[in-house]
Symmetry: C2
Subunit: 489 residues, 2 copies
């Protein structure tokens, strides 16, 4: 029961004042340490209508320099949000390192509201809960402090507050229809809230139920719990996080060395004929996808000079330009580096009915970042599971996820590099770095093998494109794409 979760009893007025002063000073002092430690802090305030979420945030932020925090009011769900995965609007709002984000209601509010309205079935609810648990755990695993508060007031107290607000013409607007509904169905809400708190209470991101019967007391509880949480998070910051065992169904994939590249080629004439036919078919499918509002994510990875660019072009040529976007992925910008590594992909997700093509992807984490030491061993080892979870979220949203590894052998790469080097108009395509990467071919091959083995889930499998003959690989990509899209249409 919600009220049994409240941790402490309201102290006497004098003690309350003294502790409030102490806690405020502590937060003031901590903000600079958070900055030094580059700790990102996400504070979520959920709770009953009129429990004072907004005003509590208002009090707490008085002790923080405005450069170090952002308040995100998440109650209003925009049309745009509905065309993105459920967690999108929260994931894109996560703080950067060294800063606070305070959310005035969040994913709990959204889920329980739909649940109470009866517009969410059991299956969706369970998937949401699983997704939320993974989201919160991933943030913590990646160095975030996530503090969840639920501001609790009794049915009577809520009624009283609404009556007072309603009496005054200047405050009447603050009592929403949702608040009134809540008060009329208090017991039912209580049950739904309780279940939600149970399902999403985890050791690293527990719920803190705050007695919000008095404003100052609510502020004190939030301040004391928050500052203790920051202290502990700074102590935990240096720790590596256990790698989790896979829990998603995987497809058994061959190693790259087992993939035969022999004889996978097409004659020019056959290629042209086939290409035209497939592109026209894909164009049709794109229309149907758009009408059916199915989002599609196409991820391209592959060896340098394997022919990714040309392959992508053969696909996009077939698409209505209003319905797709290509995202070339380079090294992350500073503001991207300051957040969870999947953040810059979350922000680039398509709307429903649209196609996003990624030219290089989040798999950089387990390839270049792994091999060049841009992240820790613990980071990339955890990433297989984190990526499977990310793609699960996309799949739950209804997205079709198609991942291509554009494959050539070492000799073919050498030929193409040499040709680029010797052809003036192609020289820009070849850099010192390409040659350096080539020297690490074997290490990359081991990393790619591991990646393909560990992330070929049934909902987002890898497809290996044999691209010694680029034409062959293009036709192969189109065929796979069409086959996968037809499954959902």
């Amino acid at each position: 029961m919600l009220k049994n979760r409240i941790l402490a009893k309201k102290p006497k007025e004098e003690e309350l004042k003294r502790r409030l002063k102490e806690a405020r000073e502590k937060l003031l002092a901590l903000q600079m340490r958070i900055k030094e430690h580059r700790l990102p802090v996400l504070v979520l305030l959920e709770g009953w209508g009129t429990s004072g979420k907004g005003s509590t945030i208002g009090q707490v932020i008085r002790n923080i320099d405005p450069r170090f925090f952002k308040v995100a009011s998440m109650e209003l769900i925009r049309e745009e949000d509905k065309r993105k995965p459920f967690l999108w609007r929260y994931f894109t709002e996560i703080p950067e390192s060294g800063k606070f984000v305070f959310m005035d209601s969040g994913w709990m509010d959204e889920v329980t509201r739909d649940r109470l309205a009866g517009t969410m079935d059991d299956g969706t609810y369970e998937a949401r809960i699983a997704g939320i648990r993974r989201f919160e755990r991933q943030l913590t695993d990646n160095g975030y402090l996530v503090m969840k508060f639920f501001l609790h007031i009794s049915e009577k107290e809520q009624k009283k507050r609404m009556d007072i607000l309603k009496k005054d013409i200047d405050t009447r607007w603050r009592v929403s229809q949702a608040d009134r509904w809540q008060n009329q169905h208090y017991e039912r809400c209580l049950d739904i809230f309780d279940r939600y708190l149970d399902a999403t209470d985890s050791p690293a991101v527990p719920w803190y139920v705050v007695d919000a019967g008095s404003k100052k007391w609510a502020e004190l509880q939030v301040l004391e719990i928050l500052t203790e949480g920051i202290d502990i998070a700074m102590q935990n910051q240096a720790l590596a996080v256990p790698v989790l065992q896979n829990v998603f169904p995987l497809i058994k994939m061959p190693k790259l060395s087992e993939v035969s590249l022999e004889g996978k080629m097409l004659e020019e004439a056959d290629y042209k004929k086939e290409l035209k036919k497939l592109q026209s078919h894909l164009g049709e499918l794109h229309n149907r996808l758009y009408r059916k509002k199915v989002p599609v994510i196409i991820a391209y990875e592959g060896w340098d000079a394997a022919g990714k660019g040309g392959n992508i072009r053969r696909i996009t040529e077939a698409l209505d330009p209003r319905g797709f976007e290509v995202h070339p992925i380079a090294s992350p910008e500073p503001h991207e580096k300051a957040r969870h590594y999947l953040w810059r992909f979350y922000t680039r997700l398509p709307r429903t009915g649209h196609i996003a093509v990624f030219d290089r992807t989040w798999y950089g984490r387990v390839m270049v970042e792994r091999l060049e030491g841009f992240c820790s061993e613990n980071d990339w080892k955890r990433a297989y599971n984190e990526i499977n979870e990310f793609e699960k979220e996309l799949s739950d949203w209804g997205a079709v996820i198609i991942k291509f590894w554009v494959h050539i052998d070492k000799e073919t790469q050498l030929e193409r590099f040499t040709q680029r080097q010797n052809t003036p108009e192609k020289q820009w395509k070849i850099t010192e770095e390409d040659w350096r990467n080539r020297e690490k071919w074997d290490a990359y091959e081991r990393a790619v093998d591991e990646m393909i083995q560990k992330t070929s889930t049934v909902y987002a499998p890898w497809h290996i494109l044999e691209s010694v003959d680029k034409r062959y690989a293009r036709i192969q990509a189109l065929n796979i794409l069409i086959k996968e899209l037809e499954k959902v249409l």
Copy 2:
């Protein structure tokens, strides 16, 4: 839904055979590495009646040297078990480092059975689930690998198996009444099982639902998942674990330096009179406790020479010797060191209606082990929460937990040490170590302060006994004990 949780599809016979051979060899090879790594492995097999839990364990252990594993059949709950906390029979069976324990059904079976029988109310169920989640997390945090398998078969398959078993007089006994009941109420069981799996699925200790429709296939799934789990656990072994923020209601306690020891004394005559009265009262209460089957745990910690022994004696003198035990706690034995540090206290818990007095306790973790470096910093920092969780489990069981810190000042200790040194019959009571510890008084005081602050929960608070006058402290202890016991009688 249970059947949707199954990770993989049964491969063709030939592939199954090949993989089975590989997986068996892998486990055979891993057992020595487990021993070297000192990894304790707890494998829990739950599942439907006739799903083949026993025979699967039988197959798996063929690949392990008998010195390295133990099979614990947990189905039968003895009278003794019922007089202990719920988790007691599982906690006491955990493996020592470098070894396997296979449990043939366990805490899931016990909880869901009671739930299905309708003998467990919602509140108890929720407390059980919370306790189980803490138990599994604590094992993992303390370096255990815990693998949970649920062997799933369909209603039809279960029926078929029971019919076959029933036909033969030699196998008829293997179909229990519970199995029959399960099959008749398959859907209801499914629902209860599903809820349980949901509630206890955690990232570090996930559920693996095994398709148990075929024996060999079930064995392969268990072997493959188990060996992968071992691989990953060995990689994770060196990692420190995040310290969790407190989620239990705490009582605000003074620092030792704020405790006044002045004038806390009693005249001989007053003491004797009071002692007699209180001991006789305590004796009565002990009888009522016994009849009401309330378990009592009294934990003593304090400075060397503070008077713990004499204090304990004044309590036990009042008790019926058939109803209490005193556990003097020294350094752990090798077989105790090889397990979770709370194991040796779990094994010493009283039966319901009995009193256990611990002369030194599990708080050694955050005092001597912390200060002498017998455990890592990460270990003792985590221990505050682990101990609060341990005591919560005892409190949920219905135990009264009373914790005494027997307090004196540094000068009093010096006087008593010197007196012991100079009195031949008391010299055995004073060792070099006592003098060494005394030099670390300030560090100990900081550790004790932190311990008292962080582990004075409302359900198991600390009581500071002012023991400069030992008589005063004894009367104080008796008064506190009587007051706390009367609350539950």
